[in-house]
Symmetry: C2
Subunit: 806 residues, 2 copies
């Protein structure tokens, strides 16, 4: 059965017959009824008897204001799916309108299939109402628990960017994205409008933004809600859209407007795609979009206690308070619910009437059941090349110079090659792919670009798989949407500026934590961060570019979900990145430098070292003759590793009798107790590496506190001394950056001298020599503007390349 209206020849502008409009209106009323029921009722779901105190929840929670609009859109999109057999994904920006999403997926049958205890009859309705925003039940927002959702909507701003991420490389999909006028005030949303410049009508699906203006946020009007249509049209046209307006409050009129508009809009999408896929030169594409202006809390109570509610911000959450205790309020609630005439919507058993159920599609065409919203169902394993193909030959530790990310770029180029047909891998970054030295990927692909090109442009193409935009928010959000719909990817970013998406990371980690606990949600590919251009080599850009704190944020999240890797060289980076691309339902953070630097491990050694996550570097230490150890020098991160090895070299020269063990940490989570993280070392293993009683001098990439917080329960923690970034930065030289933060070889060597008992007296000359070198260094760089020749070199047991590290 189709609801389109080709038979009655009505004009295109009003594509809905009266009968059809009445049917849709009843469906909408059912959704509104079930939404209000969730907010208010413990029992008596079909109002078979007058509402009493016991029928009403003790805590009234939920957001009514946006919900009727969300339900209105859902009902009309159902019509489109049936009429056009479209694959539609509903991204609900105002995710706090959770009652609406739950109501609709229950009405269409999805909910009861996923959660059989919530059956499609009166008892199911009772349980559905009861569980909403109820302990042991379901959250009040669209959430991982909500069928059909890839988007929480708790923290506003990311609806549209998620929608675009979902649409990329899904040519058959249309993503309907509802944007509330509160959300429209946020920065990420404001930037997201320009995502349409990155959408390829040939290989990507379509995004239909529906700007749902009900005029108010929690306690006041909104910017766009109070903008007149002329200015609003300019803005939306300025974003490159063709806006269609649906405005009013009379339901039947609104149904006709909405249906006619959706028909025009889906025609327009089809025309654009058809033309592009037929090979027509596209010119400038103006994708259609809809502005829906409807009253906040539409169809709800007009006034409560003499105060305006419908069409005002007071409708935002629970419009009638204290309905359990206050009999007058309870009567108002009952009147409101009865205004939807449930007897015209549900049969005697409480099931949606068949003529209404027929208005929703079936099976996976239902928006609650679409596999696009449960991306693990669509996910195909990424084909990964052998990372050893791009391993650096390392004849001896330190015996080669390489740029870690440049090697990774070659590996990623192979990943792109292998998965070119599958079109399921993208690289996101804020205009830094080349700057981060991943430019080998441009041998295989280009930057996605739909706007005008000039003859001298380089690596811009419609089908490009590298997405560059100077917005970390868009990079993050696009990739989230892309992964949540079953694909794979990598976000490469300057380390300091990934803090821009701290809160998006938080929300994605929370989403994964919850969805991992839901059997019906299939695993999605992990979110992979490559943080480069890191704190130690932003000497030229200065203090604002120097911040290694993102990983502190990361380790606050659930251990199941997060991983942090600090590969010390190119081969380790390759091994780690390859591993991460094969994982699912995690967030992997890799921190690695892009500058030429000494290489330590062969491919085989890197394999072993990274598989363990932490290990003793025998060749680097001086404790090889079996005598008792004096000190452990630990390191995590590429620059700290170099400085540690150079410090060993200094100590070997000045205090040859010192027995030093070098421990390198790749997988930061190994430091935590096993009880805290699945990668955590057992106490025995930890102690066998770090000893139970020897001093440990730990050179760390980030803020030193992080190492303490990971290790404070270990036996030898009291002997642990950590050097790291202590927020001392400016425009200077690479070596001066480590000196300013006490992470350089001289400070590390002095730390060892200060901590190994019985040495201090005999080594005053060594410490003086180190201090002298630091003074010399300071004088030299302020005179010459560059690091002193030889200052960054080292010798035994590795070679000393004179051009290392720059």
């Amino acid at each position: 059965m189709s609801l389109t209206d080709h038979a009655d020849n009505s004009p295109a502008i009003s594509g809905l017959s009266d009968t059809q409009a009445m049917l849709i209106d009843r469906y909408w009323r059912a959704a509104n009824y079930v939404s209000v029921g969730q907010i208010y009722l413990l029992d008596n779901p079909l109002l078979r008897e007058p509402l009493t105190h016991e029928h009403v929840k003790p805590r009234l929670l939920g957001h009514w204001g946006t919900t009727p609009g969300l339900n209105f859109i859902y009902a009309h999109l159902n019509r489109i799916i049936l009429a056009r057999d479209t694959d539609l994904l509903y991204v609900c920006g105002p995710g706090h309108g959770g009652p609406g999403m739950v109501a609709n997926t229950w009405l269409e049958g999805t909910y009861s299939e996923i959660y059989p205890a919530i059956s499609d009859d009166e008892e199911g309705m009772r349980r559905l109402f009861r569980q909403f925003s109820f302990p042991g039940g379901i959250p009040s927002h669209a959430a991982p628990e909500t069928p059909g959702s890839i988007h929480e909507g708790g923290e506003l701003g990311y609806a549209l960017v998620h929608a675009y991420g979902a649409a990329f490389d899904n040519p058959e999909l249309v993503v309907a994205c509802v944007i509330g006028d509160g959300e429209a005030e946020t920065g990420p949303l404001a930037a997201s409008w320009h995502s349409n410049k990155f959408l390829d009508p040939v290989h990507d699906g379509a995004v239909l933004p529906i700007l749902h203006l009900n005029g108010y946020k929690i306690a006041g009007p909104t910017i766009l809600g109070r903008s007149d249509d002329t200015v609003l049209r300019q803005l939306l046209e300025g974003y490159g859209h063709e806006p269609f307006f649906v405005e009013g409050s009379d339901p039947m009129d609104m149904h006709r407007q909405m249906a006619a508009t959706l028909d025009r809009v889906f025609d327009r999408i089809a025309e654009i795609q058809h033309a592009a896929r037929a090979g027509e030169a596209p010119g400038t594409i103006r994708w259609p979009m809809i502005v829906l202006r409807s009253p906040k809390g539409w169809t709800g109570p007009k006034d409560v206690d003499g105060k305006r509610v419908e069409g005002f911000w007071r409708a935002h959450q629970v419009p009638i308070a204290e309905a359990r205790e206050n009999a007058a309020h309870r009567r108002l609630l009952e009147e409101w619910m009865r205004s939807y005439r449930p007897e015209e919507l549900f049969d005697a058993a409480g099931r949606l009437l068949p003529e209404l159920r027929a208005l929703a599609p079936a099976g996976d065409k239902r928006m609650g059941s679409t596999p696009y919203a449960n991306g693990g169902r669509l996910r195909r394993a990424l084909r990964r090349p052998d990372w050893r193909d791009h391993a650096v030959a390392v004849p001896s530790p330190g015996g080669a110079i390489g740029e870690a990310t440049r090697q990774l770029g070659k590996y990623l180029a192979d990943v792109l090659r292998l998965n070119a047909d599958a079109r399921n891998f993208r690289i996101m970054g804020p205009d830094e792919t080349a700057s981060n030295r991943l430019d080998a990927v441009f041998e295989v692909t280009d930057r996605a670009w739909m706007q005008r090109t000039e003859p001298y442009d380089e690596h811009l193409a419609r089908g490009g798989r590298v997405m560059e935009v100077l917005s970390e928010h868009l990079c993050q959000g696009w990739l989230e949407g892309y992964l949540l719909t079953g694909r794979h990817g990598l976000f490469n970013c300057y380390e300091a500026f990934v803090h821009i998406v701290d809160s998006m990371f938080n929300q994605h980690a929370k989403w994964l934590k919850v969805s991992r606990g839901l059997d019906w949600r299939r695993p999605i590919a992990s979110f992979n961060y490559l943080l480069t251009s890191h704190v130690w080599r932003q000497d030229h850009n200065g203090f604002s570019h120097q911040d290694p704190g993102f990983i502190d944020l990361v380790v606050n999240k659930k251990a199941d979900v997060v991983r942090v890797y600090l590969p010390p060289d190119a081969n380790c980076l390759l091994r780690v990145a390859d591993h991460c691309l094969g994982t699912h339902d995690r967030i992997n953070v890799i921190v690695a430098g892009k500058q030429p630097a000494p290489q330590w491990l062969t491919a085989d050694e890197a394999e072993t070292h990274c598989a363990a996550g932490v290990g003793i570097w025998d060749w680097a230490g001086t404790d090889r003759d079996g005598r008792e150890l004096d000190v452990v020098m630990a390191c995590a991160g590429d620059v700290p590793t170099l400085e540690t090895l150079a410090a060993v070299d200094l100590l070997r020269q000045h205090i040859p009798e010192l027995k030093i063990r070098v421990v390198n940490v790749v997988d930061l989570m190994t430091l935590q107790p096993r009880s805290e993280h699945p990668h955590g070392l057992s106490d025995n293993d930890f102690d066998s590496l770090f000893t139970r009683n020897k001093p440990i001098v730990f050179a760390f990439h980030g803020y030193p506190y992080l190492i303490h917080r990971l290790t404070y329960r270990r036996a030898n923690h009291a002997n642990l001394h950590v050097r790291g970034f202590k927020e001392e930065g400016t425009t200077t030289t690479p070596f001066d950056m480590v000196v300013r933060n006490g992470l350089d070889r001289f400070h590390l060597a002095m730390d060892v001298i200060d901590r190994v008992p019985g040495l201090a007296g005999t080594t005053a000359h060594a410490k003086q020599a180190f201090r002298d070198r630091l003074i010399e260094h300071k004088q030299y760089i302020t005179t010459h503007g560059e690091d002193m020749p030889g200052i960054r070199e080292w010798s035994w047991p590795y070679r000393a390349p004179s051009d290392a590290g720059d």
Copy 2:
């Protein structure tokens, strides 16, 4: 001397005579010359001899691409200042164009006044060139060191929001804000355009956005750079602006266009302000703005090594590489520099020629010297009421119920009253002022609102001092701009969503750290965060709203700059907030709940307790008879404090002989060693509170690791057990939130039993009773949907209000 052209009657469209255009062009060439010199030269600044190897820097750093455009704008704004006696602040979004800002402030004389070693002659020029992006010198970006700057521009996105923050309540100021087309792609910038809806033409100054499109970011074209003017005009008109376009590359033509356009634009600003200040009904205001399209790297080398540079992304940073080593490149550089004809710009001593110097204003009218860019010069102390006026009467600990933020709202209302005439205090928040229960402020003021109002609207007004927009980015950025120009304020925010501005916090902390070290920068008021609607009372909104991690980020920053306060009740909140409003050059973070909760301290007690930052609550413990202590129960945060006191109550009932000390922490920084933070307790003081050997059970508001990282050096750290948020959240009840995270009274009491030696055997019945209560609780809430009656009550030594905590 004025450069306006009223005398020669030239048409308004070309307000510049040939002579004037030539003069401005020479000024511009001087700025460009001095900019290139900074990037390249160690010596020979006036090219008195041919460039040699020794004259060129070994490391070439800096961003040329945007610089000529910045210089062009600066020169023309100088003309406006002279012609109109305008107070102009230049906010340089492309702050990486630091050479331009430095060049201009040196040419106008500001630089040499602030830094006398950099004199205004040839030797000064030599030093100016040398110090740029040189160790011991100055950063490559506009930075705190740069005169006239309130904006770094390293992390892009915040130029326009800073500009608006500066303009609020500065009616005589015009803020010229240059926005690069890279920055225009960011989310915060995209949202900032709508700031014009919050600008009051009567009481605020004006913002002149200059969208400087040179077409490229680091390695590719930009979205707006490749948009055609029609679409761009729609977008900017959609933002509510009247855009004026200045486009081209021929210098003389561009000078004429720019001058004429600036004249029109400043006329337009004056008209708008004059009409509004004369009391005319404003209707919809369309503030003017400028789109400047000019080539990237304008006037630089067209091609280098056969590759396109000018007008392309290759001009972004250093257009001619290896100019020290490569003689051909060096010749190209010399040719480029000589193309500015320095002999027409500087006299024999290397000073700017008098007729050029006359093109810049003098004294504080210079954009480098304006006090608006050194806000401490303008700052007037905030008048603060007596916070005790709003103290809650606390007859006995726990003997009163109060809502902490509601009391603070009353205090803030007084602050607004006292400073109403000074117009130097604003409250920012994302639509949550009332939700956060600060609504007493609306007795005194309104929300700032310039758009249409409806008769039923509440608390919207043009002059409102509360700024609500659903964008944490705008709240943060406006307040930064407001403080940096010498005023005061508070940002109130849901705790979880303040992560949205993590990176802005980072950058502001870095700005403060550096500016505190510059004598000439006068102290500005502290940035004050009130984080409320916090993790423990977002039980109704669910997991996405539950995140206490912002303070982890905060404590990574320099100890001089950051403070974190966790007041346990209303009187402590009042005391802490009052203190914070009186501080300068800091970032104060206050975390406090908004729900009704028991009050512990009288005003006098709160004064003493908060002044110390941490203290023993004798009345709450059970160790008052002088016997040896068994355990320390520590707490930080309002909910953890309540649970700790309730746990003491349980333990007192079940194990009366147990000797418990209660320590409450208000100022988190007291926990750190004094060597790490100025508020840190000495080890002696710490040990006298926390003992050197007794178990400590610490109930903490945030992630428990934070307490470990602050205290790991303390003698008794091994005995410290911390409970806090362990990322377990959902939609549930308030008490269930603490249960899920093991922070509730029962878990705390069991923790004590487990840790006090010799108790375990005799207390099995107590533990079983606690476990039973937890099971009972779980059963009750999943049946009833609310907390079990009595579950949140407590008794001795405080009263048990039955309605506490909701």
